[in-house]
Amino acid sequence: MSTFIQAIVNGFMVGGIYALVGVSLTLIFGVLKIVNFCQGQLLMLGMYVSYTLYAQFHIDPFFGIPLTAAIMFLFGMIIQGVFITRSMQDDQDSNILFLTVGLGILFENVCLMIFKSDYRTANSVFSNKVLNLGNFNASVPKLIGLAIVVVVAILLGAFLKYTRIGKEIRATSQNRTGAEVCGIKTKFVYAATYGIGAAILGVAASCLMLYYYVFPAVGDVYGTRAFIVVTLGGLGNVIGALVGGIVLGLLETVGSVIVGSSFKDTLVFAVFILILVGKQMFKGKRG
Protein backbone atom coordinates (compact mmCIF):
# COMPACT_ATOMS: atom_id res chain seq x y z
CA MET A 1 0.00 0.00 0.00
CA SER A 2 2.73 2.44 0.90
CA THR A 3 4.30 1.93 -2.56
CA PHE A 4 1.01 3.07 -4.03
CA ILE A 5 0.86 6.18 -1.88
CA GLN A 6 4.48 6.90 -2.73
CA ALA A 7 3.64 6.42 -6.41
CA ILE A 8 0.73 8.83 -6.12
CA VAL A 9 2.90 11.44 -4.39
CA ASN A 10 5.55 11.05 -7.07
CA GLY A 11 2.87 11.24 -9.74
CA PHE A 12 1.76 14.64 -8.51
CA MET A 13 5.31 15.92 -8.48
CA VAL A 14 6.22 14.61 -11.94
CA GLY A 15 2.86 15.73 -13.25
CA GLY A 16 3.51 19.33 -12.20
CA ILE A 17 6.23 19.74 -14.81
CA TYR A 18 4.14 17.99 -17.45
CA ALA A 19 1.32 20.37 -16.60
CA LEU A 20 3.52 23.44 -17.18
CA VAL A 21 4.81 22.17 -20.51
CA GLY A 22 1.25 21.30 -21.46
CA VAL A 23 -0.08 24.74 -20.47
CA SER A 24 2.49 26.36 -22.70
CA LEU A 25 1.57 24.12 -25.65
CA THR A 26 -2.13 24.63 -25.16
CA LEU A 27 -1.76 28.41 -24.91
CA ILE A 28 0.15 28.52 -28.18
CA PHE A 29 -2.41 26.28 -29.83
CA GLY A 30 -5.39 28.18 -28.45
CA VAL A 31 -4.24 31.52 -29.81
CA LEU A 32 -2.09 30.73 -32.84
CA LYS A 33 -4.02 27.61 -33.89
CA ILE A 34 -0.76 25.81 -34.60
CA VAL A 35 0.58 22.61 -33.10
CA ASN A 36 4.06 23.41 -31.90
CA PHE A 37 6.27 20.40 -32.53
CA CYS A 38 9.40 21.95 -31.00
CA GLN A 39 7.94 22.27 -27.52
CA GLY A 40 10.37 19.80 -25.95
CA GLN A 41 13.37 21.42 -27.59
CA LEU A 42 12.31 24.84 -26.29
CA LEU A 43 12.18 23.33 -22.81
CA MET A 44 15.66 21.97 -23.37
CA LEU A 45 16.84 25.45 -24.40
CA GLY A 46 15.33 26.81 -21.21
CA MET A 47 17.25 24.24 -19.20
CA TYR A 48 20.50 25.24 -20.91
CA VAL A 49 19.75 28.92 -20.22
CA SER A 50 19.22 28.06 -16.56
CA TYR A 51 22.38 25.94 -16.57
CA THR A 52 24.45 28.68 -18.21
CA LEU A 53 23.23 31.22 -15.68
CA TYR A 54 24.34 28.83 -12.98
CA ALA A 55 27.69 27.86 -14.48
CA GLN A 56 28.75 31.30 -15.69
CA PHE A 57 27.15 33.69 -13.21
CA HIS A 58 26.55 31.39 -10.24
CA ILE A 59 22.85 32.10 -10.15
CA ASP A 60 20.87 29.45 -8.29
CA PRO A 61 18.36 27.85 -10.73
CA PHE A 62 15.55 28.58 -8.29
CA PHE A 63 16.30 32.28 -7.96
CA GLY A 64 17.12 32.48 -11.64
CA ILE A 65 13.55 31.59 -12.63
CA PRO A 66 12.48 35.17 -13.52
CA LEU A 67 15.63 35.77 -15.54
CA THR A 68 15.33 32.46 -17.42
CA ALA A 69 11.68 33.20 -18.12
CA ALA A 70 12.54 36.67 -19.45
CA ILE A 71 15.27 35.34 -21.74
CA MET A 72 12.98 32.61 -23.03
CA PHE A 73 10.21 35.18 -23.58
CA LEU A 74 12.43 37.26 -25.83
CA PHE A 75 13.66 34.17 -27.63
CA GLY A 76 10.11 32.94 -28.21
CA MET A 77 9.08 36.31 -29.62
CA ILE A 78 11.97 36.26 -32.04
CA ILE A 79 11.18 32.70 -33.19
CA GLN A 80 7.57 33.59 -33.79
CA GLY A 81 8.32 36.91 -35.45
CA VAL A 82 11.06 35.65 -37.75
CA PHE A 83 9.92 32.14 -38.66
CA ILE A 84 6.44 31.06 -37.74
CA THR A 85 4.35 34.15 -38.61
CA ARG A 86 5.72 33.99 -42.16
CA SER A 87 4.62 30.41 -42.67
CA MET A 88 1.24 30.93 -41.01
CA GLN A 89 0.11 33.08 -43.93
CA ASP A 90 0.22 30.15 -46.32
CA ASP A 91 -2.62 28.54 -44.41
CA GLN A 92 -1.02 25.12 -44.75
CA ASP A 93 -0.88 22.87 -41.71
CA SER A 94 1.95 20.81 -43.11
CA ASN A 95 4.26 23.82 -43.46
CA ILE A 96 3.99 24.73 -39.77
CA LEU A 97 4.39 21.09 -38.86
CA PHE A 98 7.64 20.65 -40.76
CA LEU A 99 8.84 24.12 -39.82
CA THR A 100 8.51 23.46 -36.08
CA VAL A 101 9.99 19.98 -36.48
CA GLY A 102 12.92 21.59 -38.30
CA LEU A 103 13.33 24.23 -35.59
CA GLY A 104 13.38 21.43 -33.02
CA ILE A 105 16.21 19.61 -34.83
CA LEU A 106 18.05 22.91 -35.17
CA PHE A 107 17.84 23.77 -31.44
CA GLU A 108 18.83 20.31 -30.37
CA ASN A 109 21.90 20.18 -32.54
CA VAL A 110 23.03 23.73 -31.90
CA CYS A 111 23.03 22.81 -28.22
CA LEU A 112 24.85 19.59 -29.06
CA MET A 113 27.50 21.68 -30.83
CA ILE A 114 27.91 24.10 -27.96
CA PHE A 115 27.46 21.91 -24.89
CA LYS A 116 28.38 18.43 -26.27
CA SER A 117 26.28 15.46 -25.28
CA ASP A 118 27.41 15.43 -21.63
CA TYR A 119 24.86 15.34 -18.84
CA ARG A 120 25.08 18.54 -16.86
CA THR A 121 23.59 19.43 -13.51
CA ALA A 122 23.19 22.62 -11.57
CA ASN A 123 23.30 22.75 -7.79
CA SER A 124 20.65 24.64 -5.95
CA VAL A 125 20.15 25.21 -2.24
CA PHE A 126 17.14 22.90 -2.54
CA SER A 127 18.83 20.09 -4.47
CA ASN A 128 18.85 16.64 -2.90
CA LYS A 129 16.70 17.71 0.05
CA VAL A 130 14.06 15.19 1.04
CA LEU A 131 11.03 15.81 3.18
CA ASN A 132 10.08 12.82 5.26
CA LEU A 133 6.37 12.60 5.99
CA GLY A 134 5.84 9.45 8.00
CA ASN A 135 5.48 6.58 5.57
CA PHE A 136 6.62 8.26 2.40
CA ASN A 137 9.18 10.72 1.12
CA ALA A 138 8.78 13.82 -0.98
CA SER A 139 11.73 15.46 -2.67
CA VAL A 140 11.84 19.17 -1.85
CA PRO A 141 12.76 20.43 -5.35
CA LYS A 142 9.86 18.47 -6.83
CA LEU A 143 7.50 19.92 -4.23
CA ILE A 144 8.74 23.39 -5.09
CA GLY A 145 8.11 22.61 -8.72
CA LEU A 146 4.53 21.68 -7.89
CA ALA A 147 4.03 24.91 -5.92
CA ILE A 148 5.43 26.93 -8.81
CA VAL A 149 2.97 25.28 -11.19
CA VAL A 150 0.13 26.57 -9.05
CA VAL A 151 1.63 30.06 -8.88
CA VAL A 152 2.23 30.19 -12.64
CA ALA A 153 -1.29 28.99 -13.35
CA ILE A 154 -2.80 31.71 -11.15
CA LEU A 155 -0.53 34.39 -12.61
CA LEU A 156 -1.33 33.31 -16.16
CA GLY A 157 -5.06 33.32 -15.45
CA ALA A 158 -4.88 36.80 -13.94
CA PHE A 159 -2.71 38.03 -16.77
CA LEU A 160 -5.10 36.81 -19.43
CA LYS A 161 -8.10 38.18 -17.59
CA TYR A 162 -7.06 41.62 -16.40
CA THR A 163 -4.18 43.04 -18.43
CA ARG A 164 -4.64 44.79 -21.74
CA ILE A 165 -2.38 42.44 -23.70
CA GLY A 166 -4.08 39.50 -22.01
CA LYS A 167 -7.44 40.72 -23.26
CA GLU A 168 -5.97 41.20 -26.73
CA ILE A 169 -4.67 37.65 -26.66
CA ARG A 170 -8.09 36.30 -25.75
CA ALA A 171 -9.75 38.42 -28.42
CA THR A 172 -7.33 37.18 -31.10
CA SER A 173 -7.90 33.63 -29.97
CA GLN A 174 -11.66 34.00 -30.37
CA ASN A 175 -11.69 35.74 -33.71
CA ARG A 176 -8.61 36.88 -35.51
CA THR A 177 -10.32 39.02 -38.11
CA GLY A 178 -12.58 40.63 -35.52
CA ALA A 179 -9.57 41.46 -33.39
CA GLU A 180 -7.79 43.01 -36.35
CA VAL A 181 -10.84 45.15 -37.14
CA CYS A 182 -10.76 46.43 -33.55
CA GLY A 183 -7.21 47.62 -34.10
CA ILE A 184 -5.38 44.83 -32.34
CA LYS A 185 -2.01 44.13 -33.89
CA THR A 186 -2.44 40.38 -34.19
CA LYS A 187 1.12 39.79 -35.34
CA PHE A 188 2.37 41.31 -32.12
CA VAL A 189 -0.17 39.32 -30.13
CA TYR A 190 1.06 36.14 -31.79
CA ALA A 191 4.66 36.95 -30.97
CA ALA A 192 3.73 37.81 -27.39
CA THR A 193 1.76 34.58 -27.00
CA TYR A 194 4.60 32.46 -28.29
CA GLY A 195 6.92 34.39 -26.01
CA ILE A 196 4.71 33.71 -23.00
CA GLY A 197 4.57 30.06 -23.96
CA ALA A 198 8.35 29.98 -24.11
CA ALA A 199 8.59 31.85 -20.80
CA ILE A 200 6.40 29.23 -19.11
CA LEU A 201 8.75 26.62 -20.50
CA GLY A 202 11.62 28.62 -19.00
CA VAL A 203 9.96 28.37 -15.59
CA ALA A 204 9.40 24.63 -16.05
CA ALA A 205 13.01 24.24 -17.20
CA SER A 206 14.34 26.01 -14.12
CA CYS A 207 12.23 23.77 -11.87
CA LEU A 208 13.58 20.72 -13.71
CA MET A 209 17.15 21.93 -13.23
CA LEU A 210 16.64 21.75 -9.47
CA TYR A 211 16.67 17.96 -9.55
CA TYR A 212 17.35 16.78 -13.09
CA TYR A 213 20.25 16.94 -15.52
CA VAL A 214 20.28 18.52 -18.94
CA PHE A 215 21.50 17.04 -22.23
CA PRO A 216 20.59 17.94 -25.83
CA ALA A 217 17.98 15.20 -26.26
CA VAL A 218 16.24 15.83 -22.94
CA GLY A 219 13.37 17.61 -24.66
CA ASP A 220 12.20 14.60 -26.65
CA VAL A 221 10.57 12.99 -23.63
CA TYR A 222 8.86 16.14 -22.45
CA GLY A 223 7.76 17.25 -25.90
CA THR A 224 5.77 14.09 -26.53
CA ARG A 225 4.46 14.12 -22.97
CA ALA A 226 3.17 17.65 -23.55
CA PHE A 227 1.05 16.41 -26.43
CA ILE A 228 -0.42 13.71 -24.26
CA VAL A 229 -1.20 16.26 -21.55
CA VAL A 230 -3.05 18.60 -23.84
CA THR A 231 -4.90 15.74 -25.48
CA LEU A 232 -6.08 14.60 -22.10
CA GLY A 233 -7.19 18.11 -21.17
CA GLY A 234 -8.42 19.25 -24.58
CA LEU A 235 -6.30 21.37 -26.92
CA GLY A 236 -6.62 25.04 -26.09
CA ASN A 237 -7.88 24.42 -22.58
CA VAL A 238 -5.48 25.75 -19.91
CA ILE A 239 -7.25 24.24 -16.90
CA GLY A 240 -7.50 20.96 -18.80
CA ALA A 241 -3.76 20.98 -19.38
CA LEU A 242 -3.11 21.43 -15.65
CA VAL A 243 -5.36 18.51 -14.77
CA GLY A 244 -4.00 16.49 -17.69
CA GLY A 245 -0.44 16.98 -16.47
CA ILE A 246 -1.24 15.63 -13.03
CA VAL A 247 -3.24 12.73 -14.49
CA LEU A 248 -0.36 11.81 -16.80
CA GLY A 249 2.10 11.96 -13.91
CA LEU A 250 -0.13 9.63 -11.90
CA LEU A 251 -0.63 7.32 -14.87
CA GLU A 252 3.12 7.02 -15.29
CA THR A 253 4.10 6.41 -11.68
CA VAL A 254 1.13 4.25 -10.72
CA GLY A 255 1.30 2.52 -14.12
CA SER A 256 4.95 1.62 -13.67
CA VAL A 257 4.07 0.03 -10.33
CA ILE A 258 1.48 -2.11 -12.14
CA VAL A 259 3.09 -3.03 -15.50
CA GLY A 260 6.74 -2.55 -14.55
CA SER A 261 8.80 0.51 -15.38
CA SER A 262 10.17 -0.78 -18.70
CA PHE A 263 6.77 -0.92 -20.38
CA LYS A 264 5.36 2.28 -18.87
CA ASP A 265 5.98 4.24 -22.07
CA THR A 266 4.03 1.74 -24.12
CA LEU A 267 1.16 2.06 -21.64
CA VAL A 268 1.28 5.84 -21.72
CA PHE A 269 1.24 6.01 -25.51
CA ALA A 270 -1.48 3.39 -25.80
CA VAL A 271 -3.68 5.43 -23.46
CA PHE A 272 -2.83 8.56 -25.44
CA ILE A 273 -3.87 7.03 -28.76
CA LEU A 274 -7.05 5.63 -27.24
CA ILE A 275 -8.05 8.99 -25.80
CA LEU A 276 -7.21 10.93 -28.94
CA VAL A 277 -9.18 8.57 -31.15
CA GLY A 278 -11.98 8.00 -28.65
CA LYS A 279 -12.58 11.71 -28.22
CA GLN A 280 -12.75 12.32 -31.94
CA MET A 281 -15.13 9.41 -32.49
CA PHE A 282 -17.34 10.61 -29.66
CA LYS A 283 -17.36 14.09 -31.15
CA GLY A 284 -18.16 12.67 -34.58
CA LYS A 285 -21.14 10.72 -33.30
CA ARG A 286 -22.52 13.73 -31.43
CA GLY A 287 -22.00 16.22 -34.26
Partner: protein, 340 residues
Protein backbone atom coordinates in the same frame (compact mmCIF):
# COMPACT_ATOMS: atom_id res chain seq x y z
CA UNK B 1 -4.05 15.35 -70.58
CA UNK B 2 -3.15 13.17 -73.50
CA UNK B 3 -1.69 9.87 -72.57
CA UNK B 4 1.95 9.79 -73.49
CA UNK B 5 3.04 6.96 -75.67
CA UNK B 6 6.50 5.53 -75.73
CA UNK B 7 8.76 8.34 -76.80
CA UNK B 8 11.99 10.14 -76.28
CA UNK B 9 11.11 10.85 -72.64
CA UNK B 10 11.12 7.15 -71.89
CA UNK B 11 14.36 6.73 -73.79
CA UNK B 12 15.86 9.51 -71.70
CA UNK B 13 14.72 7.84 -68.47
CA UNK B 14 16.11 4.50 -69.61
CA UNK B 15 19.41 6.15 -70.49
CA UNK B 16 19.61 7.66 -67.00
CA UNK B 17 18.87 4.26 -65.53
CA UNK B 18 21.55 2.67 -67.69
CA UNK B 19 24.09 5.23 -66.50
CA UNK B 20 23.13 4.51 -62.89
CA UNK B 21 23.40 0.78 -63.46
CA UNK B 22 26.87 1.19 -64.97
CA UNK B 23 28.23 3.12 -61.98
CA UNK B 24 29.70 0.08 -60.17
CA UNK B 25 31.39 -1.00 -63.38
CA UNK B 26 32.99 2.40 -63.95
CA UNK B 27 33.64 3.50 -60.38
CA UNK B 28 35.29 0.81 -58.31
CA UNK B 29 35.43 3.04 -55.22
CA UNK B 30 33.43 1.34 -52.44
CA UNK B 31 32.73 4.61 -50.66
CA UNK B 32 30.98 6.06 -53.71
CA UNK B 33 28.98 2.84 -54.06
CA UNK B 34 27.94 3.04 -50.40
CA UNK B 35 26.62 6.54 -50.95
CA UNK B 36 24.63 5.40 -53.97
CA UNK B 37 23.17 2.49 -51.98
CA UNK B 38 22.09 4.99 -49.32
CA UNK B 39 20.58 7.25 -51.96
CA UNK B 40 18.56 4.37 -53.45
CA UNK B 41 17.48 3.21 -50.02
CA UNK B 42 16.40 6.67 -48.86
CA UNK B 43 14.64 7.34 -52.15
CA UNK B 44 12.73 4.04 -51.85
CA UNK B 45 11.70 4.82 -48.28
CA UNK B 46 10.66 8.32 -49.27
CA UNK B 47 8.63 6.96 -52.20
CA UNK B 48 6.93 4.54 -49.81
CA UNK B 49 6.13 7.42 -47.47
CA UNK B 50 4.74 9.40 -50.41
CA UNK B 51 1.90 6.93 -50.96
CA UNK B 52 0.38 7.91 -47.62
CA UNK B 53 2.02 11.29 -47.03
CA UNK B 54 2.12 12.71 -50.55
CA UNK B 55 -0.76 11.22 -52.49
CA UNK B 56 -3.20 10.86 -49.60
CA UNK B 57 -2.01 13.86 -47.58
CA UNK B 58 -1.75 11.98 -44.28
CA UNK B 59 1.56 13.24 -42.95
CA UNK B 60 3.01 10.36 -40.99
CA UNK B 61 6.09 10.63 -38.81
CA UNK B 62 5.83 6.98 -37.80
CA UNK B 63 7.27 5.42 -40.92
CA UNK B 64 10.57 4.66 -39.21
CA UNK B 65 8.62 2.36 -36.89
CA UNK B 66 6.95 0.63 -39.84
CA UNK B 67 10.34 0.22 -41.48
CA UNK B 68 11.65 -1.21 -38.21
CA UNK B 69 8.76 -3.67 -38.07
CA UNK B 70 9.73 -4.91 -41.51
CA UNK B 71 13.39 -5.19 -40.53
CA UNK B 72 12.51 -7.10 -37.35
CA UNK B 73 10.05 -9.40 -39.15
CA UNK B 74 12.66 -10.43 -41.68
CA UNK B 75 15.48 -10.73 -39.14
CA UNK B 76 13.50 -12.77 -36.62
CA UNK B 77 12.35 -15.10 -39.39
CA UNK B 78 15.94 -15.48 -40.56
CA UNK B 79 17.42 -16.03 -37.09
CA UNK B 80 14.73 -18.33 -35.74
CA UNK B 81 13.39 -20.14 -38.81
CA UNK B 82 16.33 -19.67 -41.20
CA UNK B 83 13.92 -18.23 -43.74
CA UNK B 84 15.49 -16.59 -46.77
CA UNK B 85 15.14 -12.77 -46.77
CA UNK B 86 13.90 -13.02 -50.35
CA UNK B 87 10.88 -14.92 -49.09
CA UNK B 88 10.40 -12.60 -46.14
CA UNK B 89 10.02 -9.63 -48.51
CA UNK B 90 6.40 -10.52 -49.43
CA UNK B 91 5.75 -11.74 -45.88
CA UNK B 92 6.99 -8.45 -44.39
CA UNK B 93 5.00 -6.47 -46.96
CA UNK B 94 1.69 -8.16 -46.15
CA UNK B 95 2.29 -8.59 -42.42
CA UNK B 96 3.46 -5.04 -41.68
CA UNK B 97 0.94 -3.58 -44.12
CA UNK B 98 -1.92 -5.36 -42.37
CA UNK B 99 -0.72 -4.49 -38.86
CA UNK B 100 -0.32 -0.82 -39.70
CA UNK B 101 -3.63 -0.74 -41.53
CA UNK B 102 -5.43 -2.23 -38.54
CA UNK B 103 -3.62 -0.05 -35.99
CA UNK B 104 -4.12 3.17 -37.92
CA UNK B 105 -7.65 2.52 -39.16
CA UNK B 106 -9.33 3.98 -36.04
CA UNK B 107 -6.96 6.96 -36.23
CA UNK B 108 -8.18 8.16 -39.60
CA UNK B 109 -10.93 10.15 -37.92
CA UNK B 110 -8.13 12.53 -36.92
CA UNK B 111 -7.05 15.30 -39.24
CA UNK B 112 -3.90 17.27 -39.93
CA UNK B 113 -1.42 17.53 -37.08
CA UNK B 114 -3.49 15.22 -34.87
CA UNK B 115 -2.90 12.32 -37.21
CA UNK B 116 0.81 13.13 -37.20
CA UNK B 117 0.73 13.05 -33.41
CA UNK B 118 -0.76 9.58 -33.40
CA UNK B 119 1.91 8.30 -35.76
CA UNK B 120 4.59 9.79 -33.51
CA UNK B 121 2.96 8.09 -30.52
CA UNK B 122 3.00 4.77 -32.39
CA UNK B 123 6.68 5.14 -33.18
CA UNK B 124 7.48 5.84 -29.50
CA UNK B 125 5.32 2.93 -28.36
CA UNK B 126 7.03 0.51 -30.76
CA UNK B 127 10.44 1.89 -29.80
CA UNK B 128 9.65 1.25 -26.15
CA UNK B 129 8.18 -2.16 -26.84
CA UNK B 130 11.16 -3.42 -28.84
CA UNK B 131 13.66 -1.93 -26.39
CA UNK B 132 12.19 -4.13 -23.67
CA UNK B 133 11.17 -7.24 -25.59
CA UNK B 134 13.38 -10.22 -24.81
CA UNK B 135 12.50 -12.13 -27.98
CA UNK B 136 13.59 -9.22 -30.17
CA UNK B 137 16.96 -8.82 -28.49
CA UNK B 138 15.95 -5.85 -26.30
CA UNK B 139 17.92 -2.63 -26.64
CA UNK B 140 21.12 -4.36 -27.79
CA UNK B 141 19.43 -5.26 -31.08
CA UNK B 142 20.13 -8.27 -33.26
CA UNK B 143 23.22 -9.06 -35.27
CA UNK B 144 22.43 -11.03 -38.41
CA UNK B 145 24.45 -14.21 -38.81
CA UNK B 146 27.72 -13.69 -40.62
CA UNK B 147 29.24 -16.27 -42.89
CA UNK B 148 30.13 -17.13 -46.43
CA UNK B 149 28.52 -15.33 -49.35
CA UNK B 150 25.08 -16.81 -49.95
CA UNK B 151 22.61 -15.54 -52.49
CA UNK B 152 19.66 -17.30 -50.84
CA UNK B 153 20.36 -15.53 -47.54
CA UNK B 154 20.96 -12.13 -49.21
CA UNK B 155 24.49 -12.18 -47.88
CA UNK B 156 27.14 -10.69 -50.12
CA UNK B 157 30.74 -9.70 -49.68
CA UNK B 158 30.75 -6.94 -52.26
CA UNK B 159 28.77 -3.75 -52.15
CA UNK B 160 27.96 -4.14 -55.83
CA UNK B 161 25.29 -6.78 -55.21
CA UNK B 162 23.55 -4.58 -52.68
CA UNK B 163 23.89 -1.70 -55.10
CA UNK B 164 21.81 -3.54 -57.70
CA UNK B 165 19.25 -4.77 -55.17
CA UNK B 166 18.74 -1.21 -53.92
CA UNK B 167 18.57 0.14 -57.45
CA UNK B 168 15.93 -2.45 -58.39
CA UNK B 169 13.95 -1.59 -55.28
CA UNK B 170 14.00 2.12 -56.08
CA UNK B 171 13.03 1.66 -59.73
CA UNK B 172 10.27 -0.77 -58.80
CA UNK B 173 8.87 1.59 -56.16
CA UNK B 174 9.02 4.47 -58.59
CA UNK B 175 7.09 2.52 -61.21
CA UNK B 176 4.54 1.41 -58.60
CA UNK B 177 4.05 5.00 -57.47
CA UNK B 178 3.74 6.20 -61.07
CA UNK B 179 1.10 3.54 -61.76
CA UNK B 180 -0.84 4.40 -58.59
CA UNK B 181 -0.59 8.09 -59.37
CA UNK B 182 -2.33 7.68 -62.72
CA UNK B 183 -4.80 4.99 -61.73
CA UNK B 184 -8.34 5.30 -60.41
CA UNK B 185 -6.94 4.53 -56.97
CA UNK B 186 -4.52 7.43 -57.26
CA UNK B 187 -7.23 9.92 -58.23
CA UNK B 188 -9.31 8.62 -55.32
CA UNK B 189 -6.41 9.17 -52.92
CA UNK B 190 -5.84 12.67 -54.22
CA UNK B 191 -9.53 13.50 -53.88
CA UNK B 192 -9.37 12.39 -50.25
CA UNK B 193 -6.31 14.58 -49.77
CA UNK B 194 -7.93 17.68 -51.23
CA UNK B 195 -11.38 17.43 -49.68
CA UNK B 196 -12.82 14.56 -47.70
CA UNK B 197 -16.35 15.90 -47.82
CA UNK B 198 -16.32 15.99 -51.60
CA UNK B 199 -14.76 12.56 -51.74
CA UNK B 200 -17.54 11.19 -49.58
CA UNK B 201 -20.18 12.87 -51.69
CA UNK B 202 -18.97 11.32 -54.94
CA UNK B 203 -18.78 7.86 -53.43
CA UNK B 204 -15.12 7.66 -52.49
CA UNK B 205 -14.95 6.43 -48.92
CA UNK B 206 -12.04 8.33 -47.26
CA UNK B 207 -11.60 5.57 -44.69
CA UNK B 208 -11.30 2.85 -47.30
CA UNK B 209 -8.86 4.79 -49.43
CA UNK B 210 -6.73 5.80 -46.46
CA UNK B 211 -6.59 2.18 -45.37
CA UNK B 212 -5.48 1.02 -48.82
CA UNK B 213 -2.84 3.76 -48.90
CA UNK B 214 -1.58 2.74 -45.45
CA UNK B 215 -1.36 -0.90 -46.48
CA UNK B 216 0.69 -0.08 -49.57
CA UNK B 217 2.82 2.57 -47.90
CA UNK B 218 3.63 0.56 -44.76
CA UNK B 219 4.19 -2.59 -46.82
CA UNK B 220 6.61 -0.79 -49.12
CA UNK B 221 8.61 0.70 -46.30
CA UNK B 222 8.70 -2.72 -44.61
CA UNK B 223 10.45 -3.98 -47.74
CA UNK B 224 12.95 -1.15 -47.27
CA UNK B 225 13.35 -2.48 -43.73
CA UNK B 226 14.17 -5.95 -45.01
CA UNK B 227 16.85 -4.45 -47.22
CA UNK B 228 18.17 -2.31 -44.37
CA UNK B 229 18.55 -5.30 -42.05
CA UNK B 230 20.32 -7.41 -44.64
CA UNK B 231 22.56 -4.62 -45.84
CA UNK B 232 23.74 -3.32 -42.47
CA UNK B 233 23.43 -6.81 -40.90
CA UNK B 234 22.56 -5.23 -37.57
CA UNK B 235 19.31 -3.76 -36.27
CA UNK B 236 18.36 -2.16 -32.98
CA UNK B 237 15.22 -0.35 -31.81
CA UNK B 238 16.78 3.05 -32.54
CA UNK B 239 15.90 2.62 -36.22
CA UNK B 240 12.28 3.15 -35.18
CA UNK B 241 12.83 6.61 -33.68
CA UNK B 242 10.89 9.61 -34.90
CA UNK B 243 14.13 11.35 -35.85
CA UNK B 244 14.74 8.55 -38.36
CA UNK B 245 11.31 9.10 -39.88
CA UNK B 246 12.30 12.67 -40.72
CA UNK B 247 15.13 11.29 -42.89
CA UNK B 248 12.49 9.56 -45.01
CA UNK B 249 10.23 12.62 -45.18
CA UNK B 250 12.90 15.21 -45.94
CA UNK B 251 13.60 14.05 -49.53
CA UNK B 252 9.87 14.31 -50.24
CA UNK B 253 9.73 17.83 -48.76
CA UNK B 254 12.73 18.99 -50.78
CA UNK B 255 11.51 17.35 -53.96
CA UNK B 256 7.93 18.45 -53.43
CA UNK B 257 5.27 16.64 -51.41
CA UNK B 258 2.66 15.03 -53.63
CA UNK B 259 4.79 14.67 -56.71
CA UNK B 260 6.04 11.26 -57.78
CA UNK B 261 9.49 12.28 -58.96
CA UNK B 262 10.03 14.66 -56.02
CA UNK B 263 11.25 12.09 -53.46
CA UNK B 264 13.75 10.74 -56.00
CA UNK B 265 15.24 14.14 -56.73
CA UNK B 266 15.19 15.01 -53.04
CA UNK B 267 17.10 11.86 -52.11
CA UNK B 268 19.71 12.46 -54.82
CA UNK B 269 20.31 15.92 -53.35
CA UNK B 270 20.08 15.37 -49.62
CA UNK B 271 21.85 12.02 -49.14
CA UNK B 272 25.19 12.93 -50.77
CA UNK B 273 25.02 16.29 -49.03
CA UNK B 274 24.41 14.82 -45.60
CA UNK B 275 27.07 12.14 -46.18
CA UNK B 276 29.54 14.83 -47.15
CA UNK B 277 28.59 16.96 -44.16
CA UNK B 278 28.86 13.92 -41.92
CA UNK B 279 32.37 13.25 -43.08
CA UNK B 280 33.45 16.87 -43.15
CA UNK B 281 31.80 18.34 -40.08
CA UNK B 282 30.92 15.73 -37.46
CA UNK B 283 34.59 15.10 -36.70
CA UNK B 284 35.01 18.82 -36.05
CA UNK B 285 31.89 19.49 -34.00
CA UNK B 286 29.27 16.81 -33.48
CA UNK B 287 25.81 17.95 -34.44
CA UNK B 288 27.02 20.44 -37.05
CA UNK B 289 25.84 18.24 -39.92
CA UNK B 290 22.33 18.06 -38.47
CA UNK B 291 22.28 21.82 -38.00
CA UNK B 292 22.82 22.22 -41.75
CA UNK B 293 20.16 19.56 -42.29
CA UNK B 294 17.66 21.48 -40.17
CA UNK B 295 18.51 24.78 -41.86
CA UNK B 296 17.79 23.21 -45.26
CA UNK B 297 14.45 21.87 -44.00
CA UNK B 298 13.46 25.24 -42.53
CA UNK B 299 14.57 27.14 -45.62
CA UNK B 300 12.62 24.88 -47.98
CA UNK B 301 9.47 25.05 -45.87
CA UNK B 302 9.68 28.83 -45.55
CA UNK B 303 10.70 29.86 -49.04
CA UNK B 304 9.73 27.02 -51.36
CA UNK B 305 7.04 24.95 -49.59
CA UNK B 306 6.11 23.16 -52.82
CA UNK B 307 9.65 21.86 -53.23
CA UNK B 308 11.70 21.46 -56.37
CA UNK B 309 8.88 19.91 -58.39
CA UNK B 310 6.56 22.74 -57.40
CA UNK B 311 9.07 25.17 -58.80
CA UNK B 312 9.70 23.04 -61.87
CA UNK B 313 6.01 22.86 -62.82
CA UNK B 314 5.90 26.62 -63.49
CA UNK B 315 9.46 27.16 -64.63
CA UNK B 316 10.99 27.95 -67.96
CA UNK B 317 13.11 24.83 -67.63
CA UNK B 318 10.03 22.65 -67.97
CA UNK B 319 8.91 24.47 -71.10
CA UNK B 320 12.36 24.15 -72.62
CA UNK B 321 12.68 20.50 -71.69
CA UNK B 322 9.28 19.49 -72.96
CA UNK B 323 9.88 21.49 -76.13
CA UNK B 324 13.14 19.65 -76.58
CA UNK B 325 11.54 16.24 -76.05
CA UNK B 326 8.59 17.02 -78.35
CA UNK B 327 11.06 18.06 -81.00
CA UNK B 328 12.98 14.86 -80.53
CA UNK B 329 9.78 12.83 -80.72
CA UNK B 330 8.88 14.42 -84.03
CA UNK B 331 12.34 13.83 -85.48
CA UNK B 332 12.42 10.24 -84.34
CA UNK B 333 8.94 9.60 -85.69
CA UNK B 334 7.23 8.69 -82.42
CA UNK B 335 4.66 11.38 -83.08
CA UNK B 336 2.90 9.61 -85.96
CA UNK B 337 1.11 7.08 -83.81
CA UNK B 338 -0.56 9.89 -81.89
CA UNK B 339 -1.87 11.67 -84.97
CA UNK B 340 -3.09 8.55 -86.67
Amino acid sequence: MMKKRFGSRHIGALLLLLILALIPVIIRNTYIQTIFILIFYTASASLAWSVLGGLTGQLSLGHAAFMGLGAYTSTLLLVNANLSPWLSIPIAFVFVGLICMLLLSPCFVLHGPYFTLVTIAFSYAFLNLFTNWDYAGKGQGIVLPFGAEDFALMRFKSKTSYFYIALCMMVLFYIVLRLIDRSKLGYGLKTVREDEGTANAIGISPLKYKMIATFISAGMIAVCGVFYANYFRFIDPEIMAESQAIEYVLPAIIGGIGSVTGPLIGAFIIVPLSQYLNAALSSVVSGANLVVYAVILIAVVMFQPTGIMGWYQNSKLKKKLSGFFDNLDRKLGFDKSQNA
